[in-house]
Amino acid sequence: MITGRFFAAGADRRIAITILILLAVAVIVPLLNLAVSPTSGFYVPSYIVALTGKYLCYALLALALDLVWGYCGILSLGHGAFFALGGYAMGMYLMRQIGARGVYGNPILPDFMVFLNYKELPWFWTGFDHFWFAGLMVLAIPGLLAFVFGWFAFRSRVTGVYLSIITQAMTYALLLAFFRNDMGFGGNNGLTDFKDILGFNVQADATRSALFAASAVTLALAVFVTWAIVGSKYGKLLMAVRDAESRTRFLGWRAENVKLFAFTVSAVMAGIAGALYVPQVGIINPGEFEPSNSIEVVIWAAVGGRGTIVGPIIGALLVNAGKSWFTGVLPEFWLFALGGLFVAVTLLLPKGIVGMWDSWRGNAKALRAASLAEEAGIDPVVPPPPQIVRSAATRPGDWSSSSPEPQPAA
């Protein structure tokens, strides 16, 4: 079908445009913050840089969720956990960079450990004074948790709402664990008071701009990777598992492995998002494991349009911009607004903003094609949704005569 290919080309173009925009933003915003005088109209204030940098991390988290929810139908209500674990790994590195500059001036132990009477650094903090090690852990910890969790869950064929509930339980269990002081992660205060990242002051405008740029570039990379995965044969298989899991099994595919791979990749992406987030907000505490955080991610993806790559990014940016604005104007009503938004999107825009836009464009295109066909004196046959008319043909091969494509006039 020609229109099918055209839409595919359109989708690819959309990915390219998104990546280009993100890369351009990664260059332009830091420039406008650092190189333009604060009195100029083009100046981007530092707080905007920090705020949008944070949003980009959220967008990456929403994209990660979309890979499993939109493309594989796994509604994870615990993706905040992978985000927070990535954040903690980065936070541990940043804690070790404080060195002797803490309140207690202990060169080895972070402040909270001195306060809690730790005698030496717990074994699991070793290595976190190296950035490369922390970076590795940012990928490995969420990835490993997702792998082990998914291995058991998918092998036992836990699906649907039960899977959602156990992902929720997972993040809640981690929330409770990280709240405990003797876990060695700072208890309910979490990790904060960061000074340097890679030797640069985390508070400095230049560092913040660099972190912003890193977030934008990472998001662009994630968009590309997701697009490549989704477009591959594996991506087709992922959607096939979403739509007809038993069919894939009887074709010989191991549906649990298909899901496990996507779940692990998605968790790693969420972990990277958390690691970029922490230096920009300056704190990581167990509140990030809050189940409501994970549910909010689901709302971003739903608002933007699940099963599309650009949708969750748009959703995360819009909802969070709305949140920032709303909590400034009517702080006590934000949760009502968020709940109302979710209900409204579910009822009115089941495919989200991007999905709605696509079907609207599709209809407009079909109508235009129909009116063109009418002008040419042909029956206006509107392609989507194509109705296959059961013809009385004796041979099924002759059914092409009932093709929904407008046929050229003889």
Binding site: M1, G4, R5, I229, S232, K233, Y234, K236, L237, M239, A240, D243, A244, S246, R247, T248, R249, F250, L251, G252, W253, R254, A255, N257, V258, F261, P385, P386, I388, R390, A392, A393, T394, R395, P396, G397, W399, S400, S403, P404
Partner: protein
């Protein structure tokens, strides 16, 4: 009894769900290259038998052997599919959000692990195989359409096409002509006979005209075991068969 020439060998198979015996001491033997039609009233255990053969359901007792020596009760769905048993569901099940061609590509015989799929490039040989199958199932002109847009009968064909792409030794085809027009039914009978030339096939069907069209040995199941077996004329002349179909 020797199993060596059989493609499928079931002996004394029983399975019950919550006390209900869906399959009761069922024995059924299919020779290599044979096509068999299985008939029987609703609840006779036809679909449960397919579930057992494809590894979806484990029998409580009895032997299930494939190709003479493979014990199917020790394997799961994916393994059994890879050994060469293809299954078409009662309700046509295709990947609705994919095109016809993509449906066949996912079914095509080949490695079934994640990384080869991730870096898969379609080869000329695969394209040729897909073209061949599209020709057999007569959907060549619809290759780029979404499977969701096919008619019910065309979905049935696509699913049969996906079985062919798997290149199985044994095909289990559950109610292939349910909801088809007479012309489509006729065409499907022709298609299955063509397939049966180099595959072993089990067809479960209610439609007696269709079974007559196939012209093969018929097994009638009732309450989970074999009631009668032979040519269609023999089976339909059997008083017990008439009784279970018309009620007592």
């Amino acid at each position: 009894m020797s199993k060596s020439h059989t493609i499928l060998y079931l002996d004394g198979v029983s399975v019950s769900f919550d006390g209900f015996r869906a399959i009761n001491n069922l024995s059924l033997v299919l020779d290599k290259g044979e096509m068999r039609a299985i008939i029987g009233p609703n609840g006779a255990g036809k679909t449960t038998m397919m579930d057992i053969v494809t590894g979806k359901t484990r029998p409580d007792e009895g032997e299930v052997f494939f190709d003479g020596q493979i014990d199917l009760t020790r394997h799961d769905e994916a393994e059994i599919a890879m050994m060469g048993i293809g299954r078409k569901f009662q309700k046509p099940t295709v990947f609705e959000n994919h095109t016809i061609e993509e449906n066949l590509m996912l079914a095509l015989k080949g490695p079934r692990s994640i990384f080869p799929a991730l870096f898969h490039r379609r080869s000329a040989a695969e394209a040729r195989q897909i073209d061949d199958i599209l020709g057999i199932i007569r959907l060549g002109d619809k290759r780029d359409q979404l499977a969701a847009n096919l008619s019910h009968g065309q979905k049935q064909w696509l699913e049969i096409g996906m079985l062919l792409a798997q290149d199985p030794k044994l095909l289990l085809v559950d109610e292939p002509v349910a909801g088809m027009t007479d012309a489509e039914t006729e065409e499907t009978a022709r298609l299955l006979k063509e397939i049966a030339r180099d595959h072993s096939v089990i067809v479960v069907e209610h439609d007696m005209h269709f079974v007559r069209e196939l012209g093969v040995k018929v097994t009638c199941l009732h309450e989970g075991s074999v009631l009668s077996e032979g040519t269609l004329d023999f089976v339909s002349a059997d008083e017990r068969v008439v009784e279970v179909y018309l009620g007592r």
